[in-house]
Amino acid sequence: MESVVFIFSLIDCCALIFLSVYFIITLSDLECDYINARSCCSKLNKWVVPEVIGHAVVTVLMLISLHWFIFLLNLPVATWNIYRYIMVPSGNMGVFDPTEIHNRGQLKSHMKEAMIKLGFHLLCFFMYLYSMILALIND
């Protein structure tokens, strides 16, 4: 059973890693002026909710399967994701707003955030991998 949990987490984590990479690539495209703010933001906003869900699922799964350490590790990031999604002002077009993204260094902070998430997901990936192998061996 445990191995199933980790296999799922691993797959989910892979998806999140890909998503982070996609965010970074798109944002740096915007930075280098390859795409315009409008299309960049509409591309990224599409994936904000899947990201939130993907991460929330793993977090909840860890809570259910009583892996406290991993759960606590994931909790702040998941909370941040949800907070960010909820706190979008009513007039904005999503977490990424084309009219704001070039202002007040938002692009940079989005970029930084995506980088940190990428690192975090990589860390999680190896943790899940290790746990999965351990679980498989135990089975």
Binding site: L30, E31, D33, N36, A37, R38, P89, S90, G91, N92, M93, P98, T99, I101, H102, N103, R104, G105, L107
Partner: protein, 1117 residues
Amino acid sequence: MVNISRGINYSVLPQLPFNLSGTVLCLCPMQSQMQFSAGYGSHLPNYSAPSGHYSQVPHKAAASHLDNQYRASYYPNYYSAPAQNVMTSVGSNVLNAQESQQLYNSTPHTGGSSDRPVQGAISSASYLHMSAQQSYSAFDNHYSTSVSSSVASQGFPLNSDHYAMPMVSGAMYPNVSYPAVAAGGVYGQTFTSQNLPAVGQLKETNAFSSQSTSVPHSLQQHVPVGHNKTLPTVSSAQSVQDKLSRNLTGSVAKYGGYVNNQASSAPAPLSSSSDDEEEDEEDEEAGWFSPCFHPLKLFLPLRQSITLTHQPSKASKPFGYGYPALQPGYQNATPPTPVQPSNPGHHPGVNQLSSSLGGLNLQHSQQPESLRPVNLTHDRNILPVSSVPAPVPNLNSDLRKLNCSPDSFRCTLTNIPQTQALLNKAKLPLGLLLHPFRDLTQLPVITSSTIVRCRSCRTYINPFVSFIDQRRWKCNLCYRVNDVPEEFMYNPLTRSYGEPHKRPEVQNSTVEFIASSDYMLRPPQPAVYLFVLDVSHNAVEAGYLTIVCQSLLENLDKLPGDSRTRIGFITFDSTVQFYNLQEGLSQPQMLIVSDIDDIFLPTPDSLLVNLHESKELIKDLLNALPNMFTNTRETHSALGPALQAAFKLMSPTGGRISVFQTQLPSLGAGLLHSREDPNQRSSTKVVQHLGPATDFYKKLALDCSGQQTAVDLFLLSSQYSDLASLACMSKYSAGCIYYYPSFHRSHNPAQAEKLQKDLKRYLTRKIGFEAVMRIRCTKGLSIHTFHGNFFVRSTDLLSLANVNPDAGFAVQMSIEESLTDTSLVCFQTALLYTSSKGERRIRVHTLCLPVVSSLSDVYAGADVQAVVCLLANMAVDRSVSSSLADARDALVNAVVDSLAAYMSTASNLQQSMLIAPNSLKLFPLYILALLKQKAFRTGTSTRLDDRVYAMCQMKSQPLVHLMKMIHPNLYRIDKLTDESTIHVNDRVVPQPPLQKLTAEKLTREGAFLMDCGSIFYLWIGKNCDNNFIKDVLGYPNYASVPQKMTQLPEVDAPSSERTRSFISWLRDSRPLSPVLQVIKDENPAKTDFFQHLIEDRTEAAFSYYEFLLNIQQQICK
């Protein structure tokens, strides 16, 4: 004598779409055979004027004939200086944008493209004819004498606290005062003091306002007549100072340029005397940029010794050429020196120097002026007599002359700190305030087949690049070395080869290029105007339709555009009505679409029609429209669907949508709900709902922006209409927002009059379509935040679907890399737009500023108005993204931090006093004014829409207008005298001194005029002199003056004349003509007036003195 080449004709025709090849032609040698007339630059208008005449005549011979004829008839007396500059085939010309705009419009369109050149020529010519004479007459003789900045004018009568040494400042004034004159008196008044070798007398020239095109000949009389006049009082001296410093950089620069041309275009007997000197300057400039520096010829011994002793490595610094003005011998006495925080009262370097240089005390009083400590709590009279001048960058005189006008381009710090750390220490924001599309009275227009730009950063060539040798130039932004193209080697000004540094691009910091097809993504669009009108019950009740239709009818012929101009109308209530105006119909057809959930265009082809072909139908419609809906019972408003329809209609071409809305949209997409709680209006705590409620309008705006369509919003509402949400449609599509609270045609005549005047300006002003603006700055600086109405498409590219001359922008910058290895930084804005004549143009402004390494120098160069405007923009952002209280705190902290930082640099100051450098002495006052402004005030009842509108204004107004909004000007006008007057055209304009904004200055015996930018309040005291009331207001006594009075009668009495000429002079200095409101004590509008007295205490806010004490307390903490 001198002939005008056809090059001019072409250059006067920039409005013509496909006439460019003609201008390109000008650059070929064949053209250079021609004799070019005098008149590059300010002279141009004179000469361009005739172009209208002979552009109808295709032959050169005829042209010259006409030219002579013209000259004989127009300037028989003034053509005394044949040396006047050479007009070039480059096609530089001077266009009064605004004027020419009007004239385009007044020219009837015949439709055929072959007719266009002639039309354009005539129209611009006819306009130029007017303004030309003005500048000509004012300038005629100055040119030859103004050649060098070091021509010292004697006896310049100014003596003001800004320039402690009158002699010293006199040295500079001659240069400075021309621009104002030639600039067509953007400010309406100028003053020239010039020691003319030729004439040998001191001359005072009084000039005209830009708007007044009349009385072309009057100035000719003034020139001789006004001589030997000195300014009677300090007040006009002050105003001159104001003018000159405003006009200083940009316009002076131009003159510098012209003068150069003149000097080098040798067929000039008059200029020969100045020739050598000019050459020197020319060399100097060349040497300036070249790697090895040649010591300035003018100031040899001093300069060398000083630079050697202090900072030999930085001999190239432009610093050290003295603060505003010095006589040549002393100019070099201020080299950059390390900070010496001990004595802020004097420039640190000066102390060291004065010991070694003995008698140079002159410098002593010069430099520290902007750093002179001002004790704010003691010194109560800090307001200048006339308006506050923009500080002049501390550059050497050459660069200063070339620099961009502070009206178009201003930086918060005119001395750029070397590192971000230094900037952080100064606690002042670094940013630019731009007014790029401002109406200019003169603008060199350049047509050339290749526009020279840096290969790597794409910077346009500008006066601040350096020529390494004849064939290479070094970009001043990225330092890449570029080749000079072959075409650029030929200098049409001098008709010589191999003088690229004398091309107009390199002589003017504001130029306009006619762009080639490389700068087009599609053929230039025609001017397309769509009017979207609310016709619900509410709208009909308010009666705005009559005014709009009337204004449109009056200005239909003046709408900017060419023969392709298209126009359309949509009205909406709970349904959307379209109007088929296809040519050939006997009357306009109304098509009603009631399916507002899925809006469609009933007949897509015939809704937007050619203005000229369907003019009769359009007129019919405009006449019928106000009465069409008189009995409507429809109270709903389907604004969202109407806008969607408008977007669909406009998307194939792009253009301008003007939306008139009178209530909260209540149907269909984009419907809004009332969010305002009237009980919270005067809350001191939280002000909510400053941001939009829905993203519908933002999305729509971005869609529009993508299709090159701008949406302008006119909100005429008596109730809450959620401007915060509605404004998004204009904010992101580069539109503009007008708001008329409690508009009613008959109950509120002041607003009705304002709408009428605003519409007139709105419909007739210049417009640029499908525009983009890019702001570049020297490597090491980067822009991180933009303010204004536009969409930021990529890191430094602003997408402006429309650009209008009343739009201002602001950007915030940070210093990414240390600027230690450079002594100058430059900023360049390039605005690429399609003119209403379907021509692609690029307007380029370049600003150059020195880099400094000491904190006191940073303070010395602070531009307090720019700082306040930038802070206002930042505070708007903050109050939307965070909260109003945060924004207010941030504003107060900005003052506290910067003054504390300043005081900590000055260790010998008594900490118990509140000291500010002279450059920042108005900072606390302006911040207090901001805190009491509608946008940021708390405690006073403020309607949410009013507040949001004030915020929108802050983001989109250019600096001059914004400053009046923040800190109005108060004048006492019941005792206007003929003393301290200036002459504008042939009118005498009195110049009453500025009063502090406090009730203490108001007396019951007086009458006061408050200039708030968009409105004038005329407050009449209870015991005001009956003669004044009778003469000026036209009523026998105070009691009989009516409550709602918006006009001053024309009474034939000196006091009436003076008052009216003063008010009209104030009006002429701005694009929107403000409404005058007469206020008596019992008038309800009294509160509006008294709210602007910001130095007084209110129930909810500090008085100025309390505010200062509060700041002091916070600093001491």
